[in-house]
Each structure stands twice: as C-alpha cells, then as structure tokens.
Amino acid sequence: MNATINGEDRQICEASTVESLLRDLSIKPGNVVVELDGIVVPRGQFAGTAVGDGARLEIVEFVGGG
C-alpha cells in the first residue's frame, strides 16, 4: 500500500491506522497533529482511524515562530 506523507510517497503496512503509522515512523503521537485527506484527525481517534491505500497525510508539530 502507498500513502503520501508530508508530500513524500511512502509504502505503508496493510491495515494501518494513524496510530500504527506514527509508531512505524517513530513519531510520538502526543506531539503531533495529523490531517488525513484534508481533515484533521482528533488525537483520541488515532487508533480507530484507518489509513487506506492512496491516503494523503500531513503530520505537523509546533516549532518556534514569530
């Protein structure tokens, strides 16, 4: 299966959820926000949200800014 994550094409595991995908990418779920196909996924729903073939994900975090 393929997904576009932060603009990069990536192979992802079958039956991925947002939670499992973050784990595979070694990203701590508490620090990030995830947008799946243009819709923000609330943190409480990471485990229950399936990531399908061809999904587009944005994974963002807070950084310093003015």
Partner: protein
C-alpha cells in the same frame, strides 16, 4: 493608558513575543520569562520524517497558565492554506487564538491583504480569536475590524529587519481610528523602537527577531520589558505638549541683566 483586553482577557504586559530563531528552547524560555510577556506565538511545521529523533516539543517549554499560546499561520500562501493551518493548530493544542499571516512574497514577507481578509472572515466565523498581521493600511485595518478580528497587527518594518517604525504616518491613522487593540508587529529591533510604538498610542508590540538575534536574548527580553513599561508609564504621566519655539526651563529675568 486604557487596560489591554483582547477577547476578554486582560494583559498586564504590552510586550508580546515570538519563539522562533533562538539558539535553544531553554534560551527561548529564559528570554520570554525575562520579557514578562503573557502572549507568545508559535508556528506549525511538517514533521521531518527523516529525523532520527524528534526534538523536545516547544510547547513543553511554555507555561499555558502564564502565557497565551498563539499559533501563527506562517507558511500559508493563500487564505485556504491559512485556514487549514489554523485548524491544525486548534486540533494540536486546543488553541483558539491565531496569528493570521499570509506572506507569499519571499523577499519582504509582506502580507497579502486580500487573502488575509478572506481568511479572517472564515476564521472569525469558526470561532477563532484572530490577530491578523497586515501592512500599515488603515482601510484594511478597518475592514478586518468589521469582520470581527480581535486585534490588528500592522508592521513597523518588514519581518526580521530590526529597523524600527518605518510606517509611521499610516500607523498613526490606524491607531487613531481602530476600535480593537493595535499591536505593532514586525521590524522592531531595539527597546526604543518598542517604546516609540507605545508612545505613538499602540496598545502592544510583538517582537521575535529583536530578542532571538541579540547576543544576549535574556538581557534583551528584560530591556524590551523595561522600555515598554517606561513608555506606558510616560504616557500615563500625560506628557507636556510640543512646541516649535523654545520654552525656558530656568528663569531668564531678574538676574545680571535686570535693572
């Protein structure tokens, strides 16, 4: 001066600060503490997927009981992107405040007024407390106020230039006409620039580069705090009027030349 209240929240300090470009999170946190600021801005960025270890999240260095955390929409090139970023910021930390900035021009980072107004309308309807970064345009400031932004934030000079207030004439008109707090944002490099803005009647200033690019950001945070406080106190003291001709401070009669 009139109390500074934004969206029902009172701010004792008229100095707002950004969190970008510091050498470390610890330095940033120390500088903000020294500045006494109660409102800080942060940005959102894509996570670097190739990075082996994630950095300490910046939010963990900010105390939400002491400061209002305001995500900005930096990186947005149009209204649609800005709205998306604002929604992400809200989802990330539950932050309803947003510093709306849309500056597609890479050289001067000047804000796009049309996209900014469009985004402001949408975000206000979605319940955001919108603080738009704008050029010093009194008409735009008025239009934003009409759609319900919580403040207007005209620039003193382009972002990160440390050049002080170069938009004086238009800024004066904005300050004269605005019914929402005016925050002079961008371009202030010295404590005197911040004092200048407050003495002009601005309600607050927002600085980032001035502190982060100083050799000693902690000392500079303190310096800006003192300058803003001094300017505020001076304005409360009701300054004497200006005149073109000299007015003697010492008696000029009744001495050697007198009869």
């Amino acid at each position: 001066m009139k109390k500074l209240i934004i969206a029902g929240r009172e701010f004792k300090s008229r100095l707002f600060v950004g969190t970008g470009k510091y050498g470390s999170n610890a330095e940033m946190a120390a500088s903000i503490r020294a500045s006494g600021s109660e409102l800080v801005t942060v940005a959102l960025r894509r996570v670097d997927l190739s990075a082996s270890a994630q950095e300490d999240p910046i939010i963990s260095h900010l105390d939400p009981n002491r400061v209002v955390i305001v995500p900005n929409t930096s990186g947005a090139r149009n209204a649609e992107e800005a709205v998306r970023i604002a929604r992400l910021g809200r989802a990330a930390g539950g932050f309803d405040w947003v510093k709306l900035e849309i500056h597609p021009d890479p050289n001067y980072l000047l804000p796009d007024p049309i996209e900014t107004l469009k985004a402001a309308e949408i975000l206000v309807k979605e319940g955001f407390i919108v603080m738009p970064y704008i050029n010093a345009d009194p008409v735009l400031a008025h239009r934003l106020e009409e759609v319900g932004t919580a403040t207007v934030m005209p620039l003193g000079a382009p972002i990160g230039t440390n050049r002080g207030i170069r938009t004086r004439e238009m800024l004066e008109i904005i300050i004269e006409q605005a019914r929402v707090p005016v925050v002079v944002d961008a371009g202030l490099g010295l404590p005197s620039h911040a004092a200048d803005a407050i003495e002009m009647g601005a309600d607050a200033v927002l600085v980032n580069t001035a502190l982060a690019s100083a050799g000693d950001p902690v000392k500079m945070g303190k310096a800006f705090a003192m300058a803003v406080e001094a300017a505020e106190l001076g304005m409360e003291a009701d300054p004497g009027s200006q005149s073109r001709l000299a007015n003697a401070s010492s008696p000029l009669t009744g001495f050697l030349a007198g009869k």
